[in-house]
Amino acid sequence: MKKILIIDDDRIFAKVLGEALIQEKFTLVEATNGVDGLTVFEKERPDFVVLDMKMPGLDGIGFLKQLREKNENKIPTPILIVSNFSDLTQVSEGVSLGIKGYISKTEKTIESIVEDIKRILETEERLRQKTQLGK
């Protein structure tokens, strides 16, 4: 069972997405800001992270930077940014920090976000198997 971490201060979004993910048999862990997100990440080592951009305290970009610092300058887990702020500089900064995707909250339904998460996880899985076979 894959473990997914949702870092978002938007309670409704976190709840609706969380319930949808539980129905898809994922395990769920949550945080409402970047600082808590880092703590939960270290403790739970999730398989996937859904990250909001604009949060009080440490925001999404701040979370990504600190996560890299703590993990030998690599993002150890696939991360999808789901946010209302589709600022292009933030998108490119996120990409340069190693995220898997950046999607706009309001333009996507919960269903399609769940689909995106599943697809990214499957691709990751295939890649991992390939590299293992290669060894």
């Binding site: 201060d9 938007d10 309670r11 409704i12 979004f13 709840k15 609706v16 997405l17 319930e19 949808a20 129905q23 409402t32 800001n33 604009k54 009080p56 305290g57 209302n84 702020f85 909250k105 309001t106 339904t109 919960i110 269903e111």
Partner: protein
């Protein structure tokens, strides 16, 4: 008899012919003389005109008295004979003494000339000059010590510009008895007209320069003009303040280079603009907390003689701090709308999708929770929309208040009771202290008071984590000390209340005091402006708002003829207050 008669006749005839011839010869001489006189006069007149025209052409672009006198002295020889033509001109701290020698003279001649001219100048100006103040420049023929002819003819003309004597023009000769009145009249005339022309032009230039200076001086933008060697010709106070040298007298391009700290290559940009002969919009720079948009222009001559010639360059520093601030406020507002409207609305939509998609059962606990979320989100959004609409009214100056006889004590107690629940939730003490002598009824708009109180109380609760929030109401009389009045209420404000108010009349004071995070002094000034919600590091998570409440309160209270304000000590607490002129209902 006949022969004698004939002879006589012949003699008379010959005499007559001779007389006629003689007359004719004499007359021709006379005519010639007259013509010659006419010719001389004409020549002089022509010379006069030529000089004046030449002067006119040259002074068209030069107001240099020096240069004009040089023009006159340089052409005088065509018309007057002299050994030396010279002039003395006043310059700051010195007297310029320039001589042109048509013929060689001795040193003694020149020394004598200098003494005489300096004497005239002293007499004209009623001022003493020292010998070492005189700067001598000699041109023309060489000095020959053997020529020991002294000055035998000498004529002085004062040089007057704008009713002020600026020097003397002198012609001198070793021959005696020269310089008759006639010649001098013309010389006077020429010098006089030249002076007039210069005076007139200087007046025009001075007025224009004053106008221009006044304009440049008063400009809010920094203006710097340089010549082609980057020497500063004009720099206005705004530009001096900008580089932090408001009182410095002599400003050079290096003052700018040093103080711009590499943010703007003033020299390079001027060079480019002058080279390309094109105005140039340079970057925006941040200098001492201010943003400047910089423009660079070449200065091209517009006079006919030097049309298109580059005279230098101008750099204008346009202060755009205010525009940038507005831009930021707009961005913050957009960001606020995204967060406070789009997110909750999107949340509602996603809940609806989840319910419609049957992911949530109607009898589950989640369903109940979702309904509560929808309720909360829609209330928040509605409040925000109301705030924005109120703000639109505020901007249009359409805040209407309808004062009626109101029991202030009751209004306050009701609001305190309403917020009790929220305060208890945060374990904060919320109480009201109302002056016992407060009139039973005061003329105010109860809705406006309620809304203002709501804004103050909800803010106080939001920004206070520990301690208490107190709502106080009392009447301030002009002859009483406001601090004493607060003390007699039996309460203590966490920070000093202002000793004096703007309104000079008895007022109703309502204040909300808290032990919260407090507001920084620079933050206090912005509190009541639109779209400013102060970020506070101590601000609890998820507690954002539209930030419009205080601006609306200000509008409502000002519509009552009152004033709003806040005092705060960072980390200790704040007091937000409003005062309304005390108006009691008329007894019927």
């Amino acid at each position: 008899m006949a022969i004698g008669g004939n002879l006589l006749f012949i003699v008379i005839g010959v005499i007559a012919v001779l007389a006629i011839i003689g007359y004719l010869i004499w007359d021709r001489g006379r005519i010639k003389k007259i013509t010659a006189l006419h010719e001389t006069a004409l020549n002089r007149r022509m010379y006069e005109l030529a000089i004046l025209k030449e002067l006119g052409d040259r002074v068209g672009y030069s107001l240099d008295v020096h240069q004009i006198i040089d023009i006159i002295t340089g052409s005088l020889h065509q018309f007057i004979e002299y050994s030396v033509v010279s002039y003395m001109l006043l310059a700051p701290e010195k007297v310029i003494f320039k001589l042109h020698l048509e013929r060689s003279v001795s040193r003694a001649f020149i020394d004598d000339l200098r003494t005489r001219m300096l004497g005239s100048l002293s007499a004209l100006l009623d001022r003493e000059f020292k010998k070492d103040q005189v700067e001598e420049v000699i041109s023309g023929a060489i000095l020959v010590p053997e020529v020991d002819d002294p000055i035998r003819s000498f004529f002085n003309i004062p040089l007057v510009i704008g009713e002020k004597v600026v020097g003397v023009l002198t012609i001198s000769h070793t021959k005696a008895g020269l310089y008759k009145e006639e010649e001098m009249t013309i010389l006077y005339k020429i010098v006089g007209q030249a002076s007039q022309a210069v005076t007139r032009l200087q007046d025009v230039v001075k007025t224009e320069q004053e106008k221009l200076n006044a304009m440049v001086e008063s400009m809010a933008d920094g203006v710097v003009m340089t010549d082609t060697d980057y020497r500063i010709v004009v720099v206005n106070p705004a530009a001096k303040i900008m580089i932090g040298a408001p009182d410095k007298k002599e400003i050079s391009i290096f003052d700018f280079i040093d103080n711009l700290g590499g943010k703007f290559d003033i020299r390079g940009q001027l060079e480019e603009s002058v080279k390309l002969r094109k105005p140039h919009l340079a970057d925006r720079i941040l200098l001492n907390d201010k943003f400047f948009q910089i423009f660079v222009f070449p200065v091209l001559s517009k006079t006919k003689l030097r049309e298109g010639e580059v005279l230098g360059g101008v750099v204008i520093f346009h202060d755009i701090t205010h525009e940038i601030e507005l831009e930021k406020v707009r961005q913050e507002f957009t960001s606020m709308v995204v967060h406070e409207l789009r997110s909750p609305l999107d949340g509602i939509k996603k809940i609806a999708e989840a319910i419609l998609g049957k992911e949530v059962k109607r009898d589950s606990s989640s369903f109940e929770e979702y309904l509560q979320m929808i309720h909360q989100n829609s209330s928040n959004m509605l409040n925000l929309i109301n705030d924005i609409l109120d703000l639109a009214k505020l901007e249009a100056g359409k805040f209407e208040v309808h004062p009626v006889a109101t029991d202030i004590k009751e209004v306050i107690e009701k609001r305190v009771a309403f917020y009790k629940f929220l305060a208890d939730d945060k374990k904060l003490k919320l109480s009201a202290v109302v002056d016992k002598t407060l009139p039973l009824e005061i003329m105010v708009d109860p809705e406006a008071i309620k809304q203002s109180l709501d804004n103050f109380i909800s803010n106080a609760l939001k920004f206070t984590e520990k301690g208490e929030v107190t709502v106080a109401a009392f009447v301030h009389n002009l002859d009483k000390n406001i601090t004493e009045e607060i003390k007699s209420l039996g309460t203590n404000f966490p920070t000093a209340f202002p000793g004096t108010l703007k309104i000079k009349a008895p007022v109703l004071v309502i204040a909300v005091a808290d032990n919260g995070v407090g507001v920084s002094p620079e933050g206090l000034g912005q509190l009541f402006s639109k779209f400013k919600q102060l970020s506070s590091k101590a601000m609890p998570m998820g507690k954002r708002g539209s930030g419009l409440g205080l601006a609306i309160t200000k509008g409502l209270i000002e519509a009552h003829g009152g004033e709003v304000g806040a005092v705060s000590t960072s980390g200790v607490g704040s007091v937000f207050y409003f005062v309304i002129p005390l108006l009691l209902p008329t007894k019927s």
